[in-house]
Structure formats: structure tokens, C-alpha cells
Amino acid sequence: MREYQNRKNAQAKAYYSDRFYSAPPVPTTDVATDEVFAADLKSLESKFKIAKSYIQAGQMVLFINPEDIKAVMIHLKEELAYNFMSEMSAIDFLEKAGEFELFYQMLSMTKKKRLRVKFSIKEDQAVETISDVFSSANWAEREMFDMFGIIVNNHPYLKRLIMPEDWNSYPLLKTYPLIGDEAGQWYEIDTIFGKEHRAVVGPEIRDTKRVDAKDTTQFARVRHEVPYGEAPSSKPTNYAQFQEDGGVPLITKFNGEQKTLKDRK
């Protein structure tokens, strides 16, 4: 029987998992323990619906509705002094829950507090841009689109940023394998030489674990190189043959025995 391949998640899996082990959660505390965060939460709850909120690792995490994101950002920037957006991106939970989870990491320099705004969207749902509130979102949203395929409405220039323009599929989805799909693996050969050249070049060698000590056609044993295809030898190579034996005209002859290392300063 062939090995079972989980199509929904093409990433590497731990080869052993204890059936009865359940990982503990990172400890969270209630927002009420911190006054600054509690005040911020109260101000936000008065205007928006906050599904869940807690403090984890010293930062407050809020779960909001996807439609509110722009209003929340404006409120954070103007009312609550969170005027720096550190980053925003998405997490692919399609296998587990059928949705993407987006997060926006905010920073308030005056209060010295960090805050994370999160919400979940379905696979074909779009989000509203916040690049007119925080310009740093301009490229962060573009990268999110490039990596996950999440469309951002009203973005000034939503094109692929990091992958080539004609790349197939979105790389950071869990269904996309690390080594890429067929279009990705042959991309450079196809663009430069055309599909006919694939047979000339051959597929990429992706097996990182393949090692063969006796193979001298694909491997050159370091320090014991032998000509192609001959039996491996134990005679070490002489690397100091930089120059021909008779020396090169007008060029200083290299003398391997002479030590020229001076004292290090």
C-alpha cells in the first residue's frame, strides 16, 4: 500500500506523537489584572463587540469581528494611543477549522504596551484594508495576499510582492508543500528555456538525506577527490597546487612551507 499523504496539510509531521499527551496552554491571565489594558478594553467594548480577551505573555489579545477592523484600528490609533502597527499577517487554520486567523500587532509607545487584534475569516472572505490608517499595512497586506491568497478590499496596489507575478498558488498555505508544486519546481527552466528543456536539465535533487560514500559520480569526497567514476581512494589531495610547478612568469612563486602569518593586532 502506498503511504498515506494528507492532502490538507502537506507539511512535515512529527514522526511520533504520544496519544495521551496534550500540550498545556501558554498561561493567560484576565485583563482585569492590568489597569492600562483594562481601561483600553473598556473603551473598546463600549463601541465594538469583543468576543474574547485575555493577557498572554504580557500582551493583551482581543478577538473582534472582521467587519470592524478598520473602525477598531482608527479607534486604537486616535483614542487609545496605539499609533504603531508592528506587523500583521495570517495563520492558516483551514485544516483544523476551515478559516484563516488574522492578527494585527499594535504598539503604544506612550503607554509602553503591546496589543494584538485577531479575527477569523473564511477561505474566500475578503478583509478591508487599513493602509490609509497605518501605511505600514500597505506592504504587510500585499505580502499576506501573496502568501495566503486573502484578498484585501480597497488596497491601493494589491499585487504579488515576494513571489514572481505569474507564480502558481499561494506558498504559505498548508496544502502547498515545502518543495513546491510542479509549476514551482520547474519555474526557472520554463521561463528561461521553455518546457522542452526540462528533459535536458532533469528534475531537481531534493532529497537532502541521500549520501553514498562509494559514489564518485555524484559526490566528490572532500580531501580525497578522484577523477570521475574511479574507485574512491584514501590518498589525500594536494590542495597547495595553486600554481603550476614551474611557476608563472612575473608572478611571485607560492612557497607552501614558508609561514607568513604575522602577529595579530
Partner: protein, 410 residues
Amino acid sequence: MQTPNRLKPFYENLVFEKEGNQMIVNFGPQHPSAHGQLRLILELDGEQVVKAVPDVGYLHRGMEKMAENMIYNEYLPTTDRMDYIAAASNNYGFALAVERLLDIEGEVPRRAEVIRVMLLELNRIISHLFWLATHALDVGAMSVFLFCFREREFAMDLMEDYCGARLTHSAIRIGGVPLDLPSDWIDNLHKFITKMPENIADYEGLLTENRIWKMRLEDVGTLSTEEAMSWGCSGPTLRGSGVAWDIRKEEPYGIYDELDFKVPVSDKGDSYGRYKLYMEEMQQSVEILHQTIPLYKKSPHGLMAKVPQYVSATKEELMTDNFALMQHFVLVTQGMRPPVGEVYVATESPKGELGFYINSQGDPYPYRLKVRAPSFFHTALLQEILVGTYLADVVTIIGNLNIVFGEIDR
């Protein structure tokens, strides 16, 4: 006779000449100003830039996806290659993020903390020297390049003495540092940092009052405070616009709250202000290194945290105690399983706020790792800051913003 291929001279629907004096120049992914693979498509009106579109991604190696397929310890050397000029800062950012996820930040021994700060500040000096060298080379002061690289060689000798590698260190691990300082390292460091202020004075003597340098850098690339905050600038770029925000002071990590150093801030917002800021930061790093030497001498032995669930034991214990060996075997082959949750940790790398966001679902591999690279947002800033400048200023601004493509594209 070349292999026939399909490449024809075309530039993706760009027209080279437009009406009037306008022209499109492709500042291609390979160009001599040594900043990596930036492609800028500039629309020029005469010599002035009317529109600038930066195109990145030419060094995208898929590091975030790699993290989803590797265990945490295995991923550490990959973080080296992000900001490859100051590799230990990335290692530290990642290690700190994982330590905060595991909640073992308090278990890291004192000596390891001191060594970490020494490496970080040494990397800050290395990075700023590199910045000065390449920036001066672009602007035209080519001898500064050679001088800075000479100092950099001494600093890299120190790093090589410590961890064996000049450029890609992996010197900081999750739970501490793997190696203690060699016996004469402190003396060499002391020699280096006593000589450093003279060298910095050399560079300042060459550049600070230089009429040409001032003309090339003053009022070029002016960044107002609101723009800097909105575009997510951090580090010297933000401090050059008047915002006194340094994560080492405001949200201290490691032993930074015990060290006494100043954070330079410039209110002008132009390239010359940022240049002076970098020079001053190098001086402050030297001050910090002076202070860490007595702290190291007083610190007790102990380099890695003693958390058997997540961190392997020391080599002496592994070789003598069977349980330590068994645990080490499991940690190396399967990987440690952190708790379920997420964490975002920002540290002050020489380029700005380097943040690591790790979301773990209890597996030995991170479920999502996102790196907040400062240079990414500084490159996004280019599309706004380059408008209205002259073509020669474009090179100055790119050099001055200290961008490195390993972290932009990851």
C-alpha cells in the same frame, strides 16, 4: 554560442519613454550599490523622481515555511541568514521568543545573559561599521569602506574566536549560549574597544565636517515623525525623526536594565542626522561593552538553562548521566513540544525592531512563524520618500536606510 533561450529584452509592460521629459529607469536587481537585490522602477522627470515602485522578493527563500517543517533548534541557523550582517541579533530574537513561549526566560543563567549582551553589542558595532562602509562607498567616499572593513575584521576575529564562524554565528541558543568565552577573549575585546573610539573619531574626521558629505546628506530623505510612525519605521530611522524609542530602554530584556547607556535621537529627520546617530550608537555600544566585562568576571559558571523538558543538558552531564542522554536524544530527534499559544517578542536589532511571532499548537514544529523585519517596512517607505528627490539622492537614501535583503524577503 549560447544555449538559445526565451529571454527577450522586455520589462513587463513598462514603456521606456513617455511624454515630455519623463523616462522610466529600472534600477535592476543586480546593481553595484552593495545592498542586495532591490529592484526599483523609477519614473523620472529630468533628474527628479516622480514615482518609485520598489520590487522585492528576489531573495525570498521561504524561511517562514521552512519553520513549519523544522524543529525549533534546527531552525536557529536559518535565522542567521536573515539579517546576515549581524547574525547573532536574529538568533537572540528567535531564542528570546521561544524562551518567552516556554516561560523559561528567568532560567537563563547570569553568565549566559552577559555573554549574550556582549555578542549583541559586538554585532551592533559590526553592523553599523558595515552600514557606514557601504553607505560611504555608494556616496563616493571609497576609502572609508576600506577603513571600516579593517575594524570589522578585528570584530569578526573576536566572533570567530568565540563561535568559529565569521558571518553566520548561531552563537545564541534557546536556553542560553552553548560556549563559554575563550581565555584571552576578554583581553582581545578590551583591546578592541579601547581602540574603537579612536577609529570612530577617524571616520568622523573624514566625513562629519566634510563639505561634500554634508551636501550629499543634509536635507536628503527627510522623514517627518508622523510618516515614520505610520510607515512602521523603527531603530535609527525612527530615532532620526525625533521619536526616542529604543526597545532596550523601554521594554528591557536581558541585562539591559542594569547597563547605563544613552540613546541618541535626532530631530532633523534627514540622512545627515541619521548618520550622526549611527556614529553615536557605535560609541554607546563601546560603552556597554566596557560595562559588561566586570559583569562577566563576577558571574558564576553556567551557560544553559536547566529545564530538562525543553533544553538538553550540558555535555558533561550527557556523557555521564543516562537520563540526560535519553532526554537529549528525544529532544534532538523529535524536538521539544512547547505549550499551545502564541507569542510576539520584539528586540532591538541594529536595523530596528526585529520581531518574532510564533504560534505553536503543541507540535515540535512551530505552526506559524512570522518575522517582523525592520528593513521590510523601510523598503516600503521608499515608495514615499523617494518622490521628489534627484537620482543621485536615491542611492544616498537607500544606503542611509540600512536595508538588508535577507530579512526583507526572508
